[in-house]
Symmetry: C2
Subunit: 348 residues, 2 copies
């Protein structure tokens, strides 16, 4: 049976338009059931402007939403019937299999954590970001790698890092068709004794785990190079890393856009080197990725970028459906059950 | 009186040559006394190949050195009379004012920590890196900002972050002629309640400190943009950040070098956009910086990059002399004494 993806249409930077267009377009291409949650009037008006297959699209009204500028905990407490809250409830009630939202990240994490349960043995969920790298990954030569956690946690214990490693590995297997993704801990040196105590401890556990292709520690330079498929770190660090990548892309974009806007004479020069500049642009095109999965809860949750356009939302919905069909939750559950937790006896 | 800078000539990626050339060149331009420590034969041979003023240059022989690949603690224990050890001893004995080394970073930190004392109230020294940013800084429009700690520590307490903020601010004042450098804490959000507990706590203390121009929290994207002059974080985070910057520069360099190596036709196009590509290259030229100061000890210590060429070493020696003449140590001491430490009563 086709997966049902529940999409929070509200609270992103570009309003309902690109989200509705993404859903309409997918309804004509794929067998994915989609429920749009939000301002029913705006969604309906937007849907009427574009061809779509109504048998795959439903609308679920929501009175309010959490905006980007709001404090998630406060907004979710004060507002009734927010789009993200209703979307999560639909899924908790079994009316949908996966959530996609481009809204306030904190609100997505809070609502999902409130409405869904942690998978057995998961103490802390992790938000994983897909980011562009110089090297490619997996049999489909994806130019993307995965890093988690990028902000669902602050500091974590070694136990959580091991859970993140397993979840990231399973996710990469399903989404990138990568049978044995290379997983590494982010540290300040490659040697196993290098790093903060929780990293050194997680290293000792991970090197004995058969079901994870653990390759040891990587350092900061390995992030943009993409020497591994999955990078594991605490959320405080991961959040700085992923925002730094965005900042760096912005700087490079400013410089290359400036080149492209120059006068005709320059354009002649441009044509000659355009394929290399395209390479830089591809590296910085967030639209290509399928959003960031929140891993560790018993439902599939994909957080799309707040600036997502139609293409990015389409990719996020496809990824959500792929995760459901690939049995992401069940495989994480099974993977965690098979791990040897004896090193963490106190905690399990 | 002119400053005396002690230079560890050994253990870097390019051998004694660029270091000796830097010293020789500076001896003809500046009133800086320089002591070269290392393989006396190699240094002498190298010196004979280039004009220099012997009244500013001395050689201090050392039997051995710590290589990049060695574990610093082990090498310093097993080897007698290492160049870094002798350099530090000379300074501790008062025969020199400042240390410059392009060798093994861990060995520099360990030797300096062993031979020099912490400035009063400093519990942990911090290694500060100068890195290139999109925005410029200070009255001289330096395209560089400062980030600390980048690896002398792992996790730290709020107390250490406050000390790092003060030391970074004083250093930027002296080196960039920036009277009131903007200082920020690296966090996962701009709001004061955002971040790991030690960051939130340091924020509360720093916002009340008059002598530091504290502007609050910055996020990852602010690092390459350079929205502030001094960024403060724990060493585990800072090490990943600074290596990630290097990795990103390498990726951009690979792409732009590839453009530049293309056939003649391309070169015509290249000429037309070369000033913008120069901008990318300047952004990634480590040679321009003056090395990374280790702050918190009672002597000036500048760690130059292991890949430093002559220009980078010259800049490091100039920065070391400038720090001595600008009374870096005394100003940090005075700044720390003037801070209100009541929030940390237990610790001071």
């Amino acid at each position: 049976m086709a997966a049902t993806v529940v999409i929070d249409a509200m609270g992103n930077d570009h309003g309902v338009e690109p989200i509705v267009r993404a859903v309409a377009s997918l309804s004509l291409q794929r067998r994915i059931n989609m429920i749009l949650v939000g301002d029913a009037k705006a969604i309906t008006e937007s849907l009427m402007k574009t061809p779509y297959d109504p048998s795959f699209v439903q609308i679920q009204p929501a009175d309010s939403f959490v905006s980007m500028a709001e404090k998630p905990a406060v907004a979710l407490k004060e507002k009734a019937n927010t789009s993200i809250g209703i979307a999560c409830e639909l899924i908790a009630e079994g009316k949908g299999d996966a959530l996609v939202s481009a809204g306030n990240t904190g609100a997505v994490i809070l609502s999902a954590s409130k409405n869904f349960k942690c998978i057995a043995r998961v103490k802390k969920a992790g938000l994983a970001a897909v980011y562009p790298t110089e090297q490619t990954h997996g049999p489909k030569k994806d130019p993307f790698a995965l890093i988690l956690d990028v902000g669902a946690t602050l500091h974590v214990r070694s136990y959580d890092l091991v859970v993140f490693a397993l979840m990231g590995s399973v996710y990469a297997q399903i989404i990138s068709f990568n049978k044995s993704p290379k997983v590494a801990l982010l540290s300040n040196g490659n040697e196993e004794q290098k790093g903060a105590p929780e990293v050194v401890e997680a290293h000792q556990v991970l090197k004995k785990v058969r079901d994870i292709h653990f390759v040891g520690n990587v350092e900061g330079m390995d992030i943009p190079k993409g020497s591994v498929d999955v990078i594991v770190c605490e959320g405080f660090m991961g959040n700085v890393v992923i925002k730094m990548l965005e900042g760096f892309f912005d700087v490079v974009r400013n410089i290359t856009n400036d080149i492209q806007s120059k006068k005709l004479l320059w354009r002649v020069g441009m044509a000659m080197i355009s394929d290399r500049l395209d390479q830089i642009h591809n590296l910085i095109d967030w639209e290509e990725y399928g959003g960031a999965p929140l891993l560790g809860l018993d439902r599939v949750v994909i957080k799309a970028h707040g600036r997502s356009g139609q293409k990015a939302i389409e990719n996020s919905i496809k990824v959500a459906a792929k995760a459901v069909e690939g049995q992401l939750i069940q495989k994480i559950e099974k993977g965690l059950a098979q791990l040897d937790w004896s090193a963490f006896e106190k905690e399990t």
